[in-house]
């Protein structure tokens, strides 16, 4: 029974990681990108806890997971704030449009 739970946990880690990576590769909306990062973050939290649970050091794993959650939430917060700024200043959240916008000809910089 307990082994089943580990297997389920590992499967969840792999599934979430895969979905998150897939999202990072295919999504073009900045908000969705941050969302994918959140999914990967959950995979990380789960992975730490599953590992701790398997090796019997669940308490240590939990304290690590707390750090992961904090960092992950901060990434979301700051990422979202930056996305808001992007939308306000450049009027778009599309990665392709934004990367085109930021492309300044290097010759202009080269002179200075």
């Amino acid at each position: 029974m307990i082994i089943d739970m580990y297997a389920a946990g590992i499967a969840a880690v792999f599934g979430l990681l895969g979905i998150g990576l897939y999202g990072l590769m295919t999504l073009r909306n900045l908000i969705k990108v941050i969302l994918s990062l959140q999914i990967i973050g959950k995979a990380a939290v789960l992975a730490v806890v599953v590992a701790g649970s398997i090796s019997g050091e669940i308490a240590v794993a939990q304290s690590m997971a707390a750090s992961v959650i904090v960092a992950d939430t901060l990434v979301a917060v700051i990422g979202l704030a930056l996305a808001v700024q992007m939308q306000r200043c450049h009027g778009s959240l599309d990665l392709r449009t934004l990367s085109m916008k930021f492309h300044t000809p290097p010759e202009a910089e080269n002179g200075g």
Binding site: M25, L95, S99, M100, H103, N110, G112
Partner: protein, 676 residues
């Protein structure tokens, strides 16, 4: 947990930094400086206290466990400090010289717009440096190592907003120092990785105990020591990674004295001293160190002969003296190396601060002249450049105190008998004569050159007629700047007593074997010092007196112009790098730029970072290095052509790149796991 004074030693500069950082915008000018001085000075007394505890400790080593840091499986890295003879000696030296330089900086930085920030950086530097030397494992050492690197970067580019492109040059110099050091640090990290991989620890005692079970000359030890050596070469500005130090002189002079002469650059030597056990077991690495040290000593000394900038001369001199120390540690003369490290800190700090006093006075005079409208006549081709020795001369009368302190520093560097530098250099030369005659000859030649270039500089700056209006109207620096000079000069006078030949205090302190004293070597090195100085007086003494028209004519430059030019540019090593690695990298950048949608980050990296180098390339010599350059660039260009399609600047593609890298890493790990 019993509180050990070494905690205070690190904590006090840190507190000073925090105080200045949080209160900077509320405090009026001298107060941030006073806070910083208080922090540094009290750290000095704490260091003395800490040094006092070493004698009572078992085995002469105090371990101080502060906090748990990394505890993952076998990797146990706590925040732990270690006080033993080596670190205590370094600690006292760093805080002592550091306090004097802080005092000096209060005068030097007066009126600077980022006064408080300067002292924040200076205190942060002290804290990082002290952490580096009192670490008990390689990872804590690395934290300090990178900390001092960051401070060095911040302080080289401290005047990043100077007008006329000077600011850009300053920040480029900072970046160069940082990047060159990263190359060394890569080696260092590989060394650490190998250490942990094989000894399951990064704690010094555990590593050394594990290493001493291996046979001498074990390839593993050679690999580890070469990794560590690479880091040391970067930090201590040795061949081939010395190119950053001459340009690091862009920073304020107290920084040049503290970081780029007295303390940080000795960190590489310290690392080898600390890992003495490993290096003793790897004779191959040791002979490599000797070769590098000797070559660097010669290169630095010869390049110093041809410099025109007062601070660059001293920078090359530092490179050369660090070469002496490196050669010494390579030959196993650990006590002599530490002795020279300490005396060098005193006399090079003295020389730099005296030079800074000269520059400060000339800057003040130039400022003054620019303010009064009557004297702005000759502002055409010879714009005042206060660090150029060609525009100095005759400062002996205008700045008597600085002249005398500089003279003491110069004589110490040259190695004249009762001064500190004589004993420490002689200890290295004596050891070399006994163990490695070839190295002895080369080091003796470098010592002769040392006396010559310092004599040249001494004459060019202080004798003859003033060769510019600045020099003619310079006035002695304020007493807050000259008092540290006097103290340092005093240290140079008596510092030799620290380790007199035939069993001195330092040897006893370190518990090392007594070094034998060679009368013939002592006489030889004195003759060399006297000969070098005499030659300088002979060649330049007449030149400065003859040039009544107040123009600097270097007799050597008229004789051997080409050679002097090559030497002035550091034997063109910098140029070689520019024409191979950097040009290749630049071409790669250009090719990548040509791709349809250019990558945002890459553009920034390539173009901002190498702007100055493009300029430099424009006037570079076309005939040299062509073949070498072409083979490299062609290869990189092909590589670039293949990879340019992926550089679209879109996050999605970047993620694909990351995942591709992950796949490669996982594949490697999986195959290694399958083989085990």
């Amino acid at each position: 947990m019993p509180v050990h004074p070494v905690i205070l030693v690190i904590l006090l500069p840190l507190l000073g930094m925090l105080a200045n950082l949080s209160l900077a915008h509320r405090l009026r000018e001298p107060i941030p400086g006073l806070i910083a001085i208080t922090a540094a000075g009290s750290a000095f007394f704490a260091a003395l206290w800490a040094a006092g505890t070493v004698g009572a400790a078992p085995d002469g080593v105090v371990h101080v466990h502060l906090l748990e840091w990394i505890a993952v499986g076998a990797l146990q890295v706590p925040w732990a400090l270690r006080v033993d003879a080596l670190s205590a000696a370094m600690m006292v030296m760093i805080t002592g010289v550091g306090t004097l330089i802080h005092l000096y900086a209060v005068g030097y930085m007066r009126g600077d717009s980022r006064y408080a920030r300067f002292f924040v950086y200076l205190n942060l530097f002290l804290a990082a440096m002290l952490l580096l030397i009192s670490a008990d494992n390689y990872l804590v050492l690395f934290v300090g190592w990178e900390g001092v690197g960051v401070c060095s970067y911040l302080l080289i580019g401290f005047w990043f907003d100077k007008p006329h492109g000077q600011g850009v040059k300053n920040s480029t110099a900072g970046r160069k120092a940082f990047i060159v050091n990263r190359i060394g640090d890569a080696g260092l990290l590989i060394g650490f990785g190998l250490l942990f991989w094989n000894f399951d620890s990064l704690q010094f005692d555990a590593v050394f105990a594990g290493a001493s079970l291996l046979p001498a000359g074990d390839p593993l030890l050679v690999a580890i020591t070469i990794g560590l050596l690479l880091g040391a070469l970067g930090k201590s500005a040795q061949i081939p990674l010395f190119v950053w130090l001459p340009e690091a002189m862009a920073g304020p002079t107290p920084v040049s004295a503290l970081i780029h002469a007295a303390t940080m650059v000795t960190a590489g030597v310290f690392l080898i001293l600390r890992s003495e056990v490993l290096f003793t077991l790897a004779p191959v690495s040791q002979s490599l160190i000797v070769a590098i040290g000797v070559l660097t000593a010669l290169l630095g000394a010869s390049a110093a002969v041809a410099q025109r900038d007062i601070k660059r001369t001293l920078a090359y001199s530092t490179i050369s003296q660090l070469g002496f120390m490196m050669a010494a540690v390579g030959m196993g003369a650990y006590t002599a190396a530490l002795f020279h490290l300490i005396t060098h800190a005193c006399f090079k700090a003295l020389l730099f601060l005296s030079a800074g006093s000269v520059v400060h006075a000339l800057e003040g005079a130039a400022h003054h002249a620019a303010d009064s409208p009557s004297t702005h006549a000759g502002q055409g081709d010879d714009a005042p450049f206060p660090q150029d020795m060609r525009q100095m001369g005759g400062l002996r009368r205008r700045m008597p105190l600085t002249f005398w302190t500089y003279t003491i520093g110069a004589l110490t560097l040259a190695g004249v008998a009762p001064l500190a530098g004589y004993f420490s250099k002689d200890a290295i030369l004596g050891w070399a004569a006994e163990h490695d005659p070839a190295a002895f000859l080369a080091l003796a030649a470098a010592a002769g050159l040392t006396a010559f270039y310092v004599g040249r500089q001494w004459i060019a700056v202080f004798f003859g007629a003033p060769r510019s209006t600045m020099a003619a109207s310079a006035v002695e620096s304020p007493s807050i700047m000259t008092r540290p000079l006097l103290l340092l000069a005093g240290l140079c006078l008596v510092g030799g007593a620290l380790n007199l030949p035939g069993g001195g205090a330092l040897t006893g302190w370190l518990g090392a074997e007594e070094e034998s004293f060679h009368l013939s070597v002592a006489i030889a090195s004195l003759t060399l010092a006297a000969g070098g100085l005499g030659l300088a007086i002979l060649i330049y003494g007449r030149a400065v007196h003859r040039s009544a028209d107040a123009v600097w004519r270097d007799p050597l430059e008229t004789r051997a112009e080409r050679l002097m030019k090559v030497m002035r540019q550091g034997w063109w090593i910098d140029k070689l790098y520019r024409r191979t690695f950097i040009r290749a990298f630049k071409r790669m950048g250009l090719a990548l730029k040509a791709a349809e949608e250019t990558e945002l980050v890459f553009d920034r990296l390539t173009y901002l970072g190498y702007n100055r180098l493009t300029e430099a390339l424009a006037d570079a010599d076309e005939t040299l290095f062509e073949g070498l350059e072409h083979s490299t660039t062609d290869f990189v260009q092909e590589l670039a052509g293949a990879s340019e399609r992926t550089q679209t600047g879109q996050l999605n593609w970047n993620v694909v790149g990351i995942i591709g890298g992950l796949i490669v890493v996982f594949a490697i790990v999986a195959t290694i796991g399958a083989q085990r």
